[in-house]
Each structure stands twice: as structure tokens, then as C-alpha cells.
Amino acid sequence: MMQPGLDKLPEITVPVEPQPSAADAAPSAAPSAIRLFLQQRSAGRWADGAFRGLMMLCAFSIFAIVALIVFVLVKNSQLSIHAFGFKFFKGTSWDPVSGDFGALPFIYGTVVSSLLAVAIAVPLSLCVAIFLLDICPRPLRSPIAFLTELLAAIPSVVYGLWAVFILVPIMRDNVGPILEKYLGWTGFFVEPNFGVGMLTAGVILAIMIFPIISSISRDVMKAVPIAQREAALALGATRWEMLRMSVLRNSRLGIVGAIILGLGRALGETMAVTMVIGNHPDILKNLFAPGYTLASVIANEFSEASGDLYLSALIEIGLALFLVTIVVNAIARLLVWAVTRGESAGHA
């Protein structure tokens, strides 16, 4: 960066006189007018403060919204909390007529349908992520990625509509009998199968959470430096060995995050599940049997709930759902965040 020193100075210390040019036009009356205008113009300290305050208010409204949601959920479920206490989450009977409310069947239904969905969606999502990352021919890559994005944009109610008229008959007439024949002995697949039940809910949820898991795990796999993959290939590894050794091993934390994020979505999903799960508060091992979830009992019964205790019990279910999804999402965010932050640090 050093410039030549004293020896060159004599020739450059004598500056050429400015050439008269158009640019040298004498300032007219305009400049002073402009200067005057700007000097009289307020410095906007008041406007700056007001603007900042307004932006801050909107940002804090997010706090306020979350706080308000928590507040109304807690306040309006007091009746049920006092009436049943912790027993609420262990009770298996849901009887609006006698006023006996237990949420266990809904918790069971939510957990089982979500875990089913994750069990079906995870292998498929990872395979598709690997396919798009490494195997897919370049021209096909972005159309397929776009298609999976479209899958994410379809509203829940449309999935439900499709499931009611297409998926339910398929599960009843085609998939059900096969499962019953070969896996009936496990006790998970016992006739009668009306196509409406826990398994169908799990399948439709799997289709719905697939795009999330697939696209996020693709992002975290992409974050593995190319150099690591090339190093594995240079050692003579096959494609699968390279994927297992460098890609999957280095991105497993982020993939777990993606899976948990998908789980969080499945737990809170309402419409499609409500339309196919059968809506019956039972705790049964049989996956063909109807079930009920936290979200769908609210969707089905909230607007018809008569009596304060009934409504309060439903709101307590909402509170439980809220807390569970928040915990699940927070864990997932932390995992994904830890991985992608590492990536951006690597690039810096």
C-alpha cells in the first residue's frame, strides 16, 4: 500500500491551474435559496422520536399479543383447573352431560397421530432431501423443489376435503386389508376398518408435514461444506458412504430440529385431522379405530359448548396445546438455529 516517496515529489507538488469549464459556472441565486430552505427545515427530532416510538410499539405489540393469549387462556380455564386440577390430564372420561372432563384421550390421540405422521414422513422426507441434494438431475431440481413448496401452500381444509373423498376409501378398501392380513397379529390393525381413524389421520398429517421436514433438512445438509463431501469422495467412498460419513453425520442436529418442527406442526394441525380421525374419545391400541385430538375436540365442540365448565375445559385443552407446541417449537428452533448459525460463521 505504500506510495513512492520524496524522490517523486517535485513534479507533483506543482498543481495545474483549474481549467475553466461549464462546471465552474458561478453559483446563481439558487444555492443560497437551497441553503436557506434546508436551514429552516426542522431537523425532525420530534418526527424521529415519534417514528421510533411507533416502530417500537408495534414490535412490543408482539409481546403483548403473546401475553394476552396466555392471559385469556389461563384466566378462562380457571374453572376447569380448579374443578379437576392435575386429574384433568389423567382422566379418561369426557362427559359434557354429567360435567366430568378428562383430557387423556385427546392427549393420546394427538401424540399417536403426530408420532405416526413423523414415522411415515421422516424417512420419505430425508430420502427426498438427499435426492434433491445429490442425485436429482439439475434441470429437475427446481421444479421438484417448487412442487414440494406448493404442497406446503395447500390449506388444511383442502387436504381434509381430499382425504375425506379419496384417502379414506383407499385406506378402507386397499391399504387396510393388506395391513390387517400381514400385521393384524400385532394388534395395531384390527377390523372393522371404516377408513376413518387414527391411521388415516397419521397419513394425512404425514403428507402435510413432509414439505417442512424435507426443505429444512435439505437446508441443513446443504450447510455441510462441499470440501468435506469431496474429501470423502477422494478417499474412494461411494455416494452413500459419502452421504453417511460427511453429510448426515454433520447435519444430524439440524435434521432432528427439522423433525421436531414437523412434529410441532402435526400437534397443532386441526382441520384435516378433524375431518378424518373419527372424533371419538377412546384410548385404543387399534389404529383403525377412531380417535380424537386436542385440536379437533376444540374445533368440533367449542361453538356448541353449553355451560361454563364445558367451555372452560375446552379452553384448558387449548392452553395445554399452546404450551406443548411452544416447547416443541422452541427446541426445534434452537437446534436449527445452532446448525445454520454455525454455517454462516463458517462463511464469514
Partner: protein, 296 residues
Amino acid sequence: MSGTRTTRTANMNRLHELRRSAVNHFVTGLAVFSTVLVLVPLVAIVGYLLYKGASSLNLAFFIHVPAPVGEPGGGMANAIMGSAVILALASSIGIPIGIAAGVYLAEYGRGRHLGNLVRFTADVLNGVPSIVMGIAAYSLIVAKQHHFSGFAGGVALAIMMVPTITRTTEEMLATVPHAIREAALGLGIPKWRTVLSISLRTASPGIITGCMLAFARVAGETAPLLFTAFGNQFTSFDMTQPIAALPLQIYVYAVSPYDEWHRLAWAGALVLIAMIMGAVTLVRIFSNRGALQGGH
């Protein structure tokens, strides 16, 4: 002796190689197969929707209100109008608040604990199940007014739009080069004006994309409307009263026992999807073309 051993090792090596290559091919095949397998439901959903929806769609669908049970014909004009009104309300509340919160995070809250806290809360809010949002709107508005209202539905959807828009706005503002902000401040332009006319304007293509995506997401939401907007068999623009909405109507018709209503549900789903896909595709075209020419 040593000769046989080398052959044996060579054989074992070859076997090992075969196994490795077989595993490799198997996994590759599995990945291809899975991709095909997940593309099937997508094609099935979209294909069946087009087939069922298009065959049920006619002009009456857009201009008539639902016919009484048992009578053929009728449409979802009330639901389309209702959705439009609810979404207009949701956007006019959700978009300004979302953008403003994003502005705070990007321009004032950078590197501060308060900013991180807002960011985290936005992510939390984003994960709240939509049915819970419905309960909240019910408890805050419907329970106080003692009747269902389109207003409550609009507020519930607005709240769902805020976190998405906040985060995209923040991310998009972060891509605006710092040098451009300095240039504006150096000219003696007040900060609020710099944010509005320089930062937001430069980031506007991305922010518009974010708003459209948030809009598309809530446009199909049903759960938060179940006990807020509630639904209405007639055309109504009165936001203080129950009001129809397209997703709500699709749900009610889908679980009904009438074939005529099923037909209308498919038509409604097609219209809804077309609206959402239209928005998403528009955004893709828009954001590609909106990229700045020259510079950078």
C-alpha cells in the same frame, strides 16, 4: 500357500466392493422411489381437485348464495365476499404492524437483548396452533360482544400474519447495504425518512413477497374462523355480525351428507387454491423480476 491367501483376500475384497456398490445403488434407488412416492399424493390432490372442481364450477358459483338443502344449484358468492372482507381487515391490521415490527428489529433493535427477545417471541407466535388463535380471539372479542363477528375473525388472522411479516421484513432489511443508509444520513435526511424512503424502498420486493406469502397462508385458514366469523348462509358485509368465509364453507360442505354440497366444496377448494397459487406464483415472478438491475 501364499498364492491361495492372496486370491482369497482378493475375493473378499471383491465381495466387499460388490456389497458397497449394492448398498449404494439400493440407497440411490430408495431416494428416487421415495421422491416418486411423495409426488403421487401431490399430483393426486391437485389433479383430483382440478377434475372435481372444474366440473362443478360455473358462473352461478360466483354470483349465487347457497341454495337450501335439497335444491340443486346455488353458489358461494357469500363466502367469496366474506373471505375478501375478512382478509382485507386482516391485511390492513397485520401488514402495517408486521412491517413496523420488522423495521424496529432491523433498524433499531440490532444486537440488543430486547431485539432478540422480540425475535424469539415472534417465532413463538408463529408456532401457535391456529385453533388456539381462534380461542383467544373468541375470548377477547366474541365473548365480550356476546355474538360471533367477522371482526373477530379478521383480528385472529391479522395476528397470524404478524410474525411471518415481521421476520421477512427484518431479513430483507438486513440485506440492504449499510453504505446506502450512510449515504442518506450523510445528506442530512432524518432517520425516519431514511428508513421509509431508502431502506424500505430498497427492500420492498422482498417485503412484498413476505406479505403475499403471509396472506396466502391465512387465506386458507379455517380453524381460527370456526368460532369467530362462524359463517353465514347469506351475503353480509357487516363485520359486527357472523360472516361467511370460503374455507369455512368448504369445511361445512365437505362434512355434510349432501352430494350437491360436496360438489360445491370441490369448486370452492379449487377457487381457494387458485387464489393462493396465484399469489405464490405472482410472488415468484415478481421477486425474480424485481431484482435490481446493475449495481452490487
